[in-house]
Amino acid sequence: MNKFYHDNGPHIKSPYNTSKMMKHLIIALFPIIIFSVYKNGILPYSRGYGTLLSAFRPLIMILLGMLTSLISETLFIYFVLKIKDKEKLITHLKYSYAIFPGLFLALTIPINTPYSILIVGAMVATIIGKMLFGGFGFNIFNPALVGNLFIISAYYSNIAIQGGYLNKLELDTITQATPLTNLQNLNYIDTYQNIVTPFGNLWNFLTGMIPGTIGETSAILCLLGLIYLLFTKVITWHIPIIYLATVFILTSFIGYYHDLGIWYPLFHLLSGGLIFGAIFMATDPVTSPTTPIGQAIYALGLGFLTVIFRFLTSYPEGVLTAILTMNMFVFIIDKLGVKVRFNLKKLSIPLAILILIIGTTTYYVATNINKKVTDQNFNVIDVTEIDNQVIYTVTHKAYHGLIKAKIEIDDNTGKITTIDILEQNEYVWNQIEEHNYIDKLIQQQHNLDDLDTISGATYTANYLKQMVIKTLKEYSQNR
């Protein structure tokens, strides 16, 4: 009688495995990383901005994030889980894919994040986002986004001082922060010239030559990654496609309501790291539903929340918060997905309710958007009328504190006659005075878009310009 080896079947297994999936994921990210190094490092350096070291800053940040995650996971396993055998430790690390939280974190933060903050963020991502839930496979929230949320909410002012989302070249050529911050400043509904033109055209959005986080700006490379990931069966189409389609449809509706063209939903689709988030972050298998129906509902919710967060909260990107919010509902969504798996008809009522909620909320957003959201940068303190003169006392956010000004408008011609600056704390005010910028503003008041800013006082000049534009808008709306 011969003995044979025993284990549970099936006795053949698919050659595909988790490590291969992770390799494919890195390959899909590779063009994005290279592009980021080019756009945020080499391009500014070649135009004479920054040092040689700063040319490789994006790469250094990505490597630093990965390394921090790896080290913090190793320390956690060694000291908390008390796995001290060297071989076991290495196997554990190899199959828990420790580098990913840091990698994705580095790709979703502003280029000017100080290294120290990145390290703290990567530690938070790995320890709190992943290890405290039980490690790979058990975390409820996307670890990288936990780290990201931590950095942005705790240290954003530190990052903003360094220049925020703009790389060295953009700091000098672009006046607005990111496209979506600009959109928020414009009260969400405005012309193509105001929303898109400050960043070039939509082609720049597609290629990624716009301000944004390290890895998320190039839509076309993300889509290339999507095709690769679908082809290698790392992810299924449900989440990214339904997510993007939902955002597109809802913003189309809002745009259509305000007579804006197809560029408006495209702008929403191509900005704020939406495509990157939909393809790489929302599809994280650990934190997304498993049933196809569940994935569809999850993606629908993501699209809806992204639009809501963009229009109704002060987080202009919305993608990150939407994903973290939907992460909480994965368990419930899976349960629903299971219940309707054998009988799709059961889905009709929950789906109808969901669509009703999405529809009414979007309608509300579309109709109330300009009334609801006030410009936090611009405030009218006082309006007085003396002898056909309307005198506005206004404040506007500036580079350092507020600028307070008295602006007189002739009621007959509708033109600004004088601008008195009452208060300002700008460092570079002498530049404004040297260039007689206030006078230029009055002279060119009906063609302010063409008025050049002053190099060396870009921000201040621009804020002054915005103040004048908004005052004129306020005046024309009330007369």
Binding site: P10, H11, V338
Partner: protein
């Protein structure tokens, strides 16, 4: 359509000639049926038996005799591993090599010359069961008040490595067609369908040779996917019909080709199931091939007969195909009437432990539309299992096959299935 293309490895065991191993010294006839209920034994030590003598009988609500496959003397009852790995009682018969046949076999007759009642009786008396692996008594399928309109013959054999049905169809196409025609006439069904896999020109040619005589029988090719031979998926593909529990609801009876051949022998010669074709294959067998084997033969004798096993480490003996088969610990396993393949291969399941990351590949692939990963995570949550319905699992093994983390998902589903079963009782 749900399914996946697997690496088939079928060519190695397809040979032109099928040898038969009809000289085992002892046979061990298992006293079990497909659900593992022990059966009544009708013989005692020292009894003389002939080929076809009834030596056991099922004693539950199905009446099914168990026959001797050799002539000789009963030497006792021993426990031997069955194809599911469990030890079962077997009647041990010492072969006298006289091949004497029990004398109550009636003379040969025209195989269409039966009434529906006689047909059911003869299926029962000959102990015909589903030979494709299920082991379900065939007479029960025909013992119905519902009208039968279609006989679907399953020749798909979608598991890799197995070629027993392939060679049977190649060598006995004429008898199979004759038998289907007879069943159509006896049961009053209007249509017979033989389902085979695509890209099998040899089989197609064999059937086409005789098809002209039988206008009611159709040959349909199905996709080369696993598990397209699963009853429910096959009916969906071939007839585009969904059913709830049993295909007879829609007037369909599904039989495996090897079962059809057994029915043919029963109708023609009143011969019970005493031997069957078994594929012995795998990379660790010296000469992979199909062999005609007597029921009750020890696998050890069989392997020695065809040339033995290659040396190696961690060799597995699998009763059945690589997907649904069970790894058996020892080679004193006995051949039962629902065994169709012996796979001897080196263990290929050496994988590091990786945590499940809920990627949902098992959910997407499951042909029964289950959510294996959620069943695995909620195996102890009886409330949730009610919705997950693990009892629908057909144990095809695709969830474990596809899992990128190589988790034994099927084992969890089986466990959940048992839990649900307990609760229902």
């Amino acid at each position: 359509m749900v399914g996946i293309k697997l690496l088939l490895n079928k060519k190695m065991s397809i040979k032109n000639k099928i040898p038969s191993f009809d000289k085992p010294n002892y046979v061990y006839i298992p006293l079990v049926n497909h659900t593992n209920l022990a059966c009544e034994c009708c013989v005692k030590k020292g009894d003389k038996v002939y080929k076809g003598s009834v030596i056991g009988r099922r004693n539950d609500h199905f009446q099914l005799p168990i026959h001797a496959s050799v002539s000789g003397t009963v030497v006792g009852i021993e426990e031997r591993p069955y194809l599911n790995g469990a030890l079962v009682k077997c009647v041990v018969i010492e072969n006298d090599f006289k091949e004497k046949v029990v004398d109550n076999f009636p003379p040969k007759k025209d195989i269409t010359d039966y009434t529906a009642r006689e047909f059911v009786n003869i299926l029962r008396d000959c102990g015909i069961v589903g030979m494709g692996g299920s082991g379900f008594p065939t007479y029960v399928k025909y013992d119905t008040k519902m009208p039968i309109n279609t006989i679907l013959v399953n020749g798909v054999e979608c598991e890799p490595y197995i070629t027993a049905d392939y060679v049977l169809m190649r060598d006995h196409a004429e008898e199979i067609l004759e038998c289907i025609d007879a069943i159509l006439e006896i049961t009053g069904a209007t249509k017979g369908i033989i389902a085979i896999k695509v890209h099998q020109p040899e089989i197609k040619k064999e059937f086409k040779k005789y098809m002209g005589t039988y206008p009611n029988i159709e040959l349909i090719e199905v996709a080369d996917l696993y598990p397209s031979g699963w009853e429910k998926s096959l009916i969906k593909q071939v007839l585009n019909i969904d059913y709830d529990k049993l295909p007879i609801e829609k007037g369909v009876v599904v039989n495996n080709v090897s079962t059809i051949y057994a029915i043919y022998e029963a109708l023609k010669y009143h011969k019970p199931v005493m031997e069957k074709i078994i594929t012995i294959t795998g990379d660790k067998i010296e000469k992979p091939q199909n062999v005609v084997v007597k029921i009750g033969t020890q696998v050890k004798d069989l392997i020695d007969y065809i040339g033995g096993i290659k040396p190696g480490n961690k060799i597995k003996l699998i009763a059945g195909g690589p997907m649904m088969g069970v790894a058996i610990l020892t080679d004193d396993l006995v051949v039962s009437n629902n065994l169709n393949c012996l796979l001897i291969m080196e263990n290929q399941n050496e994988h590091p432990y990786i945590e499940c990351m809920r990627c949902g590949k098992c959910v997407n692939i499951c042909p029964a539309k289950l959510s294996p990963v959620l069943i695995k995570n909620n195996v102890n949550n009886v409330e949730y299992l009610k919705y997950l319905q693990p009892e629908k699992c057909i144990e095809c093994g695709l969830c474990s096959y596809i899992c990128p983390s190589k988790v034994d998902v099927r084992e969890y589903v089986k466990k959940a299935k048992l839990k649900r079963g307990e609760k229902n009782e």
